[in-house]
Symmetry: C2
Subunit: 339 residues, 2 copies
DNA sequence: CTGAAAGCGCTTACAG
DNA sequence: CTGAAAGCGCTTACAG
């Protein structure tokens, strides 16, 4: 049982391939009667045009590529889910590739996708990406590019992000309102915009509430791992006993902090409150449960696809493309670790 | 900058398209000198043949489809990672689709992949799949199918699995050796083979160690969620105070159990020991950390791809396909929840 | 309103 | 050893 071809339908219905093709695509110069016949038969036989053959003519592959920094990462899985669902609605297939947070691999994956003639690329940049010429190249080739979550300000393309600075501000403000005055920050790596923005939100909250910024209370998590969170928390217990709250750039280091505090029998939040960022599943399951910022991953993926699709339609109609910068809302989730 | 075509290389080197194509594919009837010229130029220009055009002749799309029951699920992400890495080595692209544990959606996704001319399908069946004709159809169409993790005994295809019964046996044996005598089991849904096998492993351990099986100590987690684990643990505390250990079909219900015991200040493992299954990241991060069975997700994905690739090569050479049943090893991870 | 024909970029059987 | 030509399954400009 091979997939049905236009030729098969044509000979079955005693029509030409041309007419069948046009009927299926609703060309105005085909009689309604013929259209009806063809469509009904195609429907019955579950005919789908061979996308590879179609591509050769239309240069549209009906495939998009997605490049994310990590595959086995809850937040990105959520985004992928949103992308795949949105893509399904427009009969798009999704090829997923990972940069493993490596700049070189990111370049390579982008090139692989170009070679495979994807209609567009949705991408979240790797932490180590310092140069964006592989992305500018996409813009030049007029391949729609949408960046999500982790983006670069240097690339002129549409983006779907959250307001990291604002969300971080609210997270720290929450700690301050709970009476905390000596707040440490586990920040992310130096390069990515969102770890910078979360750090800036942290600083702005200190400023606005008249708390002094101490750079020795800022710890850099290059891996954004629970191990780093654990280690820095031990350091805090040893060398900075005055610290009464931790705001982490992500849930993983926050979970590491909680693990460390539990191990040392330090009461949370009485002695040290902990605030995460992302609202991974784990944050509600650990004891005590972790207060955090909820990021709408699936929605982010969905929006990213929708923008790509809009840009593609405009490109086909030769409408000049206006890049969009979409900022999604985040929610502060209060749980036991700060209450 | 469009992708380079054979025509471009041919005109650049004053050769025919035919010769260029043959040179690149190492046909014996092209002179070494020409081959060298062509290959060097192609290398320099980073030429990759357009896979869509190639497909039309060879019927090979260089794309495989993967269908998993859930996208944002740590274990499956791990498998996907293994698949993508292995696929990359053979220049294969991976299209990922989700069945969301729904039989209908699984059928639909398999059909979408066939329509898109994938060279093969790697699949883990949905919990609700009760009929496998959509899979038998693949075999009939000679589209290689490899099932991983969750498989059906009714489909004649290669599989990559773990020995669930044996792993479950060892998990329960571990609890028994720690002195537990009244062991509850949070089992998975009734249909999937691996929840059946884990249940059978549980029973066999009881039998071999002379413990009585009590069906009122078996609780079914249809969603395999932490919420179910939490709820059943409350029920145990209320109605079955003699229970001194829980063996859960997966980490999530086990984590729910720990959450519940923590909330009620029940000491773990002194009063109740808890054993999970899968070794998700979360299991080492909660307090107390969770003893569990480590499943090699990434390796499972890798093997699944490799088997598909082998079958495809054999199919091309018209070698009859021998299906392989691969069983990967699991490890028992002892952590605080049983020690 | 319908259809013959060209062409997308490859591969490969065939001719020279 | 090299190349002209056919053909994979579509789409679409063109002819009638």
């Amino acid at each position: 049982m091979k997939n049905l071809r236009l030729t098969d339908i044509a000979s079955e219905l005693n029509l030409s391939v041309t007419t069948v093709s046009k009927a299926l695509k609703n060309y105005p110069d085909v009689s309604n009667k013929t259209k009806k016949r063809v469509k009904e038969y195609a429907q019955k036989m579950n005919f789908k045009p061979n996308s590879f053959a179609a591509y050769l003519r239309t240069q549209e592959s009906k495939i998009i590529g997605v490049v994310i920094p990590r595959l086995n990462h809850f937040f990105f899985s959520d985004i992928i889910k949103g992308i795949i669902k949105a893509a399904e609605k427009e009969s798009y297939m999704v090829i997923v590739l990972s940069s493993e947070e490596s700049y070189e691999l990111e370049c390579k994956q982008v090139n692989r996708l170009i070679q495979h003639n994807v209609d567009g690329i949705l991408l979240s940049i790797a932490d180590s990406t310092h140069d964006v010429s592989h992305l500018s190249q996409l813009i030049e080739q007029k391949i729609p590019l949408v960046m999500f979550d982790k983006y670069s300000k240097l690339t002129t393309c549409s983006t779907v992000v959250i307001n990291d600075q604002d969300a971080a501000f609210r997270a720290v403000e929450h700690l301050i309102k709970k009476g905390r005055r000596n707040i440490a920050h586990f920040r992310g790596p130096l390069l990515p915009q969102n770890s910078i923005d979360r750090f800036l939100g942290f600083r702005r909250a200190l400023d606005e509430y008249g708390l002094k910024y101490r750079k020795e209370w800022v710890f850099t998590c290059d891996e954004i791992s629970s191990e780093e969170g654990y280690r820095y928390t031990e350091e805090i217990l040893k060398s900075h006993p005055e610290i009464d709250a931790i705001f982490a750039v992500a849930d993983m280091p926050a979970v590491g902090a909680i693990k460390c505090l539990n191990t040392h029998n330090i009461p949370i939040p009485e002695r040290i409150a902990v605030m995460g960022f992302s609202n991974w599943k784990i944050s509600e399951l650990i004891t005590p449960s972790l207060s955090t910022i909820d990021q709408p991953g699936s929605l982010m993926g969905q929006k990213a696809f929708e923008i790509f699709y809009e840009e593609l339609q405009n490109k086909k109609k030769n409408i000049p493309i206006k890049h969009q910068q979409i900022t999604l809302n985040t929610d502060l989730i209060e749980r036991e670790s700060t209450n």
